[in-house]
Amino acid sequence: MNVEWFSRIRRHPAAFKLGMILIAAALAILPFALAAVGTTWVRILNLAILFTLLSLGLNIVVGFAGLLDLGYIAFYGVGAYTYALLASPQFDVHLPFWAILPLGAAVACLFGVLLGAPTLKLRGDYLAIVTLGFGEIVRIFFNNLSYPVNITNGPQGISRIDPIRIGGLSFNTSDTLLGIDFSGPIKYYYLLILVLLAVIVINVRLEDSRIGRAWQAIREDEIAAGAMGINTTHVKLLAFAMGASFGGIAGGLFAAIQGFVSPESFAWIESIMVLSMVVLGGMGNIWGVIVGALLLSFVPEFLRYTVDPLQRALIGRVVIEPEVIRMLLFGLALVLMMLFRPAGLWPSKVRRRELAE
């Protein structure tokens, strides 16, 4: 985190407060502005926030602790399926969300430790390959745990998942408050923003803490970290567990918002997507990661809605499918990044702490 400008602004309490109020107001109005364009965009925004949550979780594992995880989406899946199984007609269990979300985080955390424990000795490419396999194994389980006992309902997935309800307030229907119409996605947006803020605070605090420094030490030099008395086993497992927990929470929210989960949402390409967000933004820098996640979530959607009309207007027919151009631009972006900004768009800066506290 770039503490320099942050502390500089902090020294002017009035300016700091004003800035915070402006940001809060912008965040509050944002979904209504998007809804004016189309409710779809609010849904896209919600999905972008979910991916930001995932990126922040993965950033702990990859950015802070330096453990390359290519199967991160598995934890998202575990969280989503935990929610789906405990709040749907599948087993006719309907637990409230405040019970399942922490449970989903806990189950994902357990899977994080399950993945972490056998891979402690692995590093770099080898760790990447094992985690890639782990991600696929989890997805294949989702796909096949429908026989002999139907748990996950196989490739059809689980549908009619309960939306989040707080008291009488259901998040999937519209409500009118003070003459303003709050649609389902807009309500979910506010919930997601609150979760995102909490996750950002947790990340910022973890980074600048005893544990955060231990993670960074392991990333820099595991042997030296051990010699300095850091229990590398413990600290690495902690990174996996923390990252997985955030993935689990994001997964639970995803299941509730979509009302439907199926194995194909948790394919390896999604892991790569989340990793790309972390790398594009700037590994290890929380703000960079957020920028990367939002950018990679929105640009493809933006293309989806512009490539077709643009081609029709220019040459009268669709020559290149939006999906193709998306991947093309993706590849181009990655190559350009490696050439010009290998550390990410907003790389983690040298943190200059103030001399006097």
Binding site: V201, I202, R205, L206, S209, R210, I211, G212, R213, A214, Q216, A217, E220, D221, I223, A224, A225, G226, A227, M228, G229, I230, N231, T232, L238, M242, V350, R351, R352, R353, L355, E357
Partner: protein, 255 residues
């Protein structure tokens, strides 16, 4: 003299190579003890066995009166032995200050919950870590570099930062693997003063070093290793005249 560290009959083999063979030595409290020998004599292997990076094939270490069970490096650090490395191993992309702060990990407690809630206890601990790290940087004359990334520091400063980081773990024994390697005469002289000061402050020092002048001037006693065996031990001046030592360094007399 009560021994702070005792090594008893340490053996370590790598395949057919006997890297350490029946090494026995004792280092007294507040002593500066030198470990010298030709290249490949087993000095660094001795360090690695002592600090838990390798297990010894046989033999045992006793530290501060208790057996030192070297299950892993962090247990050894916790027992009170801190080390530096022959090829500097700093946390390159962390600042000098952060490097030393990592050294405090062992003697502090805040976990994930503490870090997230940031209660009064955690804040107090963070302040103490910060303050201690600053004092150590000052002790080593590195205050000006506090916020520089470790890999950007000049070579001599990196060597000293590594010692500062080791001292942050509150060791009773500081094990230095060639601290003067690559230093010029002025820097070596300053290092000597620094090590004497550290000893005066109550820390015992075990030193691997090739700089003969430094070893002879600084160490109370030295042991000489050759092909994994201890061939001499004693006051520097006596060891310097020892025939076995001269033979190990210069080769045997012509037949």
């Amino acid at each position: 003299m009560s021994a702070l560290l005792e090594a008893r009959n340490i053996y370590k083999r790598f395949g057919g190579l006997e890297a350490l063979s029946d090494v026995t030595l004792a280092i007294g409290e507040r002593e500066i003890y030198g470990l010298i020998g030709p290249n490949g004599a087993g000095k660094t292997t001795f360090f690695n066995v002592l600090t838990g990076f390798y297990g010894a094939d046989s033999g045992e270490f006793r530290f501060a009166g208790a057996p030192l069970v070297a299950r892993s490096p962090h247990h050894v650090a916790k027992a009170g032995i801190a080390r530096t490395f022959q090829n500097i191993r700093l946390f390159g992309n962390m600042t000098a200050l952060e490097n030393v702060m990592v050294g405090r990990h062992l003697r502090t407690h805040a976990g994930v919950i503490g870090a997230v809630l940031r209660g009064a206890g955690t804040r107090r601990e963070e302040r103490a870590i910060h303050e201690r790290a600053r004092r150590l940087l000052e002790y080593f004359g590195l205050t000006a570099h506090a916020n520089d990334l470790a890999h950007n520091l000049p070579y001599g400063d990196q060597r000293r930062l590594e010692i500062a980081r080791a001292l942050a773990t509150d060791p009773r024994l500081l094990a230095l693997d060639e601290p003067a390697a690559g230093m010029n005469a002025t820097e070596t002289a300053a290092l000597r003063g620094l090590l004497e000061r550290i000893r005066a402050d109550g820390t015992t020092i075990l030193l691997i070093e090739h700089d003969v002048k430094l070893v002879m001037g600084l160490c109370d006693r030295v042991a000489v290793l050759d092909y994994g065996r201890k061939i001499a031990e004693g006051a520097p001046a006596a060891v310097q005249r020892d025939n076995a030592v001269i033979e190990a360094y210069l080769g045997g007399a012509l037949a």
